[in-house]
Amino acid sequence: MKVVLKDLTKIFPNMNKKIKEGVTAVDHFNFEIPDGKLVGLLGPSGCGKSTALNLICGLETPTEGRIFFGDTDVTDLPPENRGVGLVFQNYALYPHMTVRQNIMFPLENLKGDKKLSKEEMEERVQQAAKLVQIDNLMDRKPSEMSGGQQQRVAIARAVVKMPDVLLLDEPLSNLDARLRLQTREEIRRIQRETGITTVFVTHDQEEAMSISDLIVVMRSGKIHQIGKPQEVYDDPVNLFVATFLGTPAINVFEGEVKGEKLFISGAEVLDVKGARDGEVWIGIRPEGFIPEKNGPLTCHLNGVEVMGRDSSVVSTHPACSAVIRSIISTESDIDKNSETVSFSLKPFKVHLFDKETEERIRFEY
């Protein structure tokens, strides 16, 4: 079922009662989650992504705007009538119940013509448990399981009632690095197998990029960009989106456009056809550097980190306040003992942003 948010706004009253003005957690959200897709809400902490999730599931009521599931307006429906499954960040498994009891709990609440017989319930529970591969742990208590297993139980409990929309709040943040990789694949698989429209919240861009069909990048309650992960990565609309996505992060230089040419500290580095003159932020992806003896961009070389598959060149440049990290193939030879390193740039890995508004300035290449 597709989920449509129209002008969705949530303003919380300020905790400091002297300040009348509320805190805007979600600011005029407009977007549509297509049916059966996995969507990642991505943003730094405190950007309102969990609030957005709570609005969709109904635990919070919006200050303004409407929420549609399919064609039905669910804004005024209580959470229990919306048909959503929610997996909490801390899983919120009932500690006194076994895995089986936990998963069965939502089914036992069904009333009227939805009411299931004992056998049907048992079967549904078994199915859900199989889906998340915990059917061998049915009689354990949550405290006797690892974080990853608890996570699976939480997902099973959310999907057992066959919700139209599944919501996951920071599903991987309580897991260790290895388990995180594994579990995110699991989430992807479960979503594919069930076909449930799924929204998950994360502050980890890698997590969002790796499994989402669509990512929504947000900051301070506002949506900055919506799109397929690769599209958003390759074509960010502003400096924030560009810096937020990608590890290592994009390298940001100060520079200038003059006569359709791009200058960094006076050196001409790239032709930028169609860009108007003026000061700009230049974002260069780590993979956008080509080491070249007489390349236009010369940086002070700090070191080369060999990571097997490729190497990371660490350097500094007066126009860039942070350390520059560039990823290059191990085959390209760089003199590690040299004082400087020179690069030429891949034009499609270079993004220009307005110095004031930080909006993207496009150019032809």
């Binding site: 959470p79 229990e80 959503v84 929610l86 909490f88 919120a92 009932y94 500690p95 006194h96 939502p106």
Partner: protein, 296 residues
Amino acid sequence: MKKNNLKGWLYLLPALLFLISFMVYPLIDVLVYSAEEGYNSASQIFFGYGLYNYSYVLHDPYFLQALKNTFILVIITVPLSTGFALLISLALNSIQKLKDFFQTVFFLPYVTNTLAVGLVFMILFKKTPYSEGLVNLLIFWFGGQSVDFIDGPYWAKMFVLCFYTIWVVLPFKVLILTSALASVNKDYYNVAKLDATPRWRVFTRITLPMISPMIFYLVITGFIGAFKAYSDAVALFGTDLNSAGMNTIVGYVYDMLYGNSGGYPSYASAAALILFAIVLTITCINLMVSRDNVQY
């Protein structure tokens, strides 16, 4: 090594001295007293050792009365006070406005002086030449017969004692249970809400199990406290509890030591040990039941 051990014991010495002289020695002394037959506290002599003291106490009508009173008190007040406390804390937890105010109101009896409380209960229940007592006025109002709650029939006196006990122990239980309820993670309720869980089921399947350790704590301490009841009865019926027929086991022990019939430490010790055995048994049963029911 040996030297270090000595040093350790030296550090423990002050505490050990206190514990031994005020806890261990009296305990042993009570055991010894309870077995000394025909002990005379004036001449400090006795005839021999045996179980006669126990048999005397167990056949003493005053002790049997005290035993009956204590048991009735325990059986009525422990479940009722815990139940009321649970209801009150649930109510307190579900209101927004005036929550702090009501919390303070329910906690007031805990910090109120026993004498003041006794005075209030006098006004409520005591029949004097000048007044019938507030409760009797109410009974008249509804067309009932006046009852003397302080010097009247047994059930009326027992009612007042239970009422008083529940009222006195309630604040502490409310305090414990409100904080237990508040500490239950809100996410559990949100999950339950999303799953359309009916309120009663949320209470029985989530809230109760989550606070069950606290409830069992209150029941166990409640049992022990009620078995040791004495001052409440004195506050209501005065020191001559035997003639009022409202004595408790601890009251009986006290009377045997210092009361009008006092001077019998052997009987007192025997009674105290019987009480100890009862409390120990009940607590063990409680712990066993709670181990089966509190599982996480």
